[in-house]
Amino acid sequence: MVVKAQSRPAEVLRPGHAGCPGCGHAMGMRMVLRALGNRAVVVVVPSCVAVISGPYPYAALNVPMFHSAFEIAAPTAAGISQALKIQGKDDIPVLAFAGDGGTFDIGLQSLSGAADRNEDFIYVCMDNEAYMNTGIQVSSATPRYAWTGTSPMGNTRRKKHIMEIMAAHRIPYAATACIGFADDLTAKVKKAKEMRGTRFLHLLSPCPTGWKMEQHLSPKAAVAAVETNIFPLYEIFGGSEYVINYRSKGLPVETYLSLQGRYRHLRPEDVKSIQAETDRNWEELKRRV
């Protein structure tokens, strides 16, 4: 299909960002921001997202931005959103990007507080499953068995279920998305933009540097995460109404794991255990729909 130039959405993330080659975050931010448009305020916190946004005096994003502190993406967005309302600018959406560490770990308290108050902003957790900006350390978003610099024998904990935590806050909208399914991601951002209250996007974005894979593999890894049911695409409305957006091919988890050097050390029984857990999670998700 040929998209007419006039109807093609404008890019908000401009060329010349400071991410690594093949960075999944940069692709994800580009898709999210293109769907959001440039009449918005964006909050970033320390993470690769803040690096991508560019060092002073450069700015890769063509929107007003604030690089706030690590653990406060949510209350920062809430403060700006409340201020814009007071100024009569309630048509300007506020969107916060935080990494998995800034969301699952250090920012969880302040995110919970803002979600509890149903503050009016879109929160996008850019999940690359470890502290990549500081050089690949384990976070509570790191999957079991994955290598990081602080889980050299493989992570012993399971990935925290952030979607369930957000659902428990009964926020209007929570959804998973990934860079392998651009149309799905775009539709979710547009849907979130039309809603009010706390909207949460859990965006899986592969990191070639931290996942130890070739630079061109980020989209492929994201597709594989969905097609193996390791990262299903779904939405939760009001904390209770679940909708699965994509029926995967149900490929074996090796399809996903074998792309990544961080899983190179896995024994056959580890793969089996990941498969079993993936199947359990998928059945559990289907039961909730």
Partner: protein
């Protein structure tokens, strides 16, 4: 209009009269009555602004500073542990030049746990880049909050108005509360930069280089230095509008004084009484109240203390391993004086213990008669 209210209530009255647009706060003793009073008014539709009931003081400051950067008038109040939890965001508010105003109700920092007046909480935030004003009574607290918004918005630095637990926060005093129109004439509607303008996008607080960081710090330094003049100017103008003002410091009876007793906050009121009595008995002792701590009023302190050979600093706070913090600051301010001073530090009222006129008299007699100044502070401890 005269109102008979607590110091906390006075803070809330001032915040409302200043047409504050966002209050973000979290409960902590002894600040909580400020938060409750503002909530009552919000519920009754009498606040004007909105309340954000955050899940921590850290988030309260995050919300205040980002709302302030968006261009609205923001306020919070806290104490002690809450202030310590905010510490990271205090630096942040100052660094990105957000003119947030805060009431800090001085309370002991744990451990051990206690709930009484002690200035170490706010003084521990000395280097965060906040303007700090220490208040003596309820009226001064009320007036200083109104002044604080004009000062902060004038220099684009955050401002902390400091009042003591219980001695001010929970004590009732009659105070003069002006009409809304009168306050509006002194404090116009907020007009600060709106940093998140979709028509003119820019990036607030990006990563900078070493050289750029140094340059930004220098700009903040200049703003804080300039704040001394702005605070004086705002205070004078406040006097013109309301018939009361306070200065950066206040000097009482320094003419011909052999000793200046330096105090801050509520100890000053007691010292006024004690020193009047001592002067009647023939002791040549004057009083200096330091009201503004950051920026430190070095020049004016050096000028007024120039002819006074002995200085005693009496205070309710401690930097372990050194002495009272005002004492250290004052010594540093006087070190380049033409004539050297003898400066003796005294600690009293720690943990909220009472500082009565007798104690102050003992301090003065000791300072006047002492042959050698000690580098160590002298503890005027209550014997329990």
């Amino acid at each position: 209009m005269k109102k008979f209210i607590t110091g906390n209530h006075a803070v809330a009255e001032a915040v409302r009269l200043c047409r504050t647009q966002i209050v973000a706060a979290y409960p902590i003793t002894p600040q909580t009555p400020i938060y409750e009073k503002l909530s009552d008014w919000e519920a009754a539709g009498e606040l004007g602004g909105i309340m954000m009931r955050t899940e921590s003081e850290h988030s309260a400051m995050a919300a205040c500073l980002s709302a302030s950067l968006a261009g609205v008038r923001a306020f919070t109040a806290t104490s002690s542990q809450g202030l310590a939890l905010m510490h990271e965001m205090l630096h942040f508010a100052s660094g990105c030049r957000a003119p947030v105003v805060m009431a800090c109700v001085n309370r002991t920092l744990a451990a051990p746990w206690a709930f009484w007046s002690d200035q170490t909480d706010s003084l521990s935030q000395r280097d965060t880049g906040w303007i700090q004003i220490y208040c003596e009574d309820n009226q001064e607290v009320f007036d200083s909050v109104i002044q604080a918004f004009r000062i902060a918005e004038g220099v684009l630095l955050p401002c902390m108005v400091v009042l003591e637990a219980n001695y001010i926060s929970h004590f009732m005093e009659p105070i003069e509360v002006p009409e809304q129109e009168q306050t509006d004439r002194f404090l116009p509607p907020v007009k600060i930069p709106e940093r998140f303008d979709v028509d003119n996008p820019s990036f607030v607080a990006p990563v900078v280089s070493q050289v750029q960081f140094e340059a930004f710090r220098h700009l903040s330094y200049e703003a804080m230095s300039n704040a001394l003049d702005v605070i004086e100017e705002v205070d004078r103008d406040f006097g013109d509008h309301f018939g009361r003002n306070y200065g950066l410091v206040e000097a009482v009876g320094l003419d011909g004084a052999e000793l200046a007793l330096v105090t801050t906050a509520t100890i000053t009121s007691t010292a006024r009484v004690a020193l009047a009595g001592l002067r009647e008995k023939g002791h040549r002792v004057g009083l200096v109240k330091i009201r503004v701590f950051r920026p430190f009023p070095t020049r004016i302190l050096r000028e007024i203390l120039e002819p006074v050979p002995r200085v005693a600093v009496l205070e309710r706070n401690l930097s372990l391993g050194r002495e009272g913090i005002f004492c250290s600051e004052l010594k540093a301010a006087l070190v380049n004086s033409e004539k050297p001073h003898h400066v003796q530090g005294y600690l009293a009222g720690m943990g909220g213990t009472n500082v009565d006129p007798d104690l102050i008299e003992r301090v003065v007699i000791d300072a006047l008669s002492r042959e050698r100044v000690s580098d160590e502070p002298i503890w005027m401890m209550e014997k329990k």
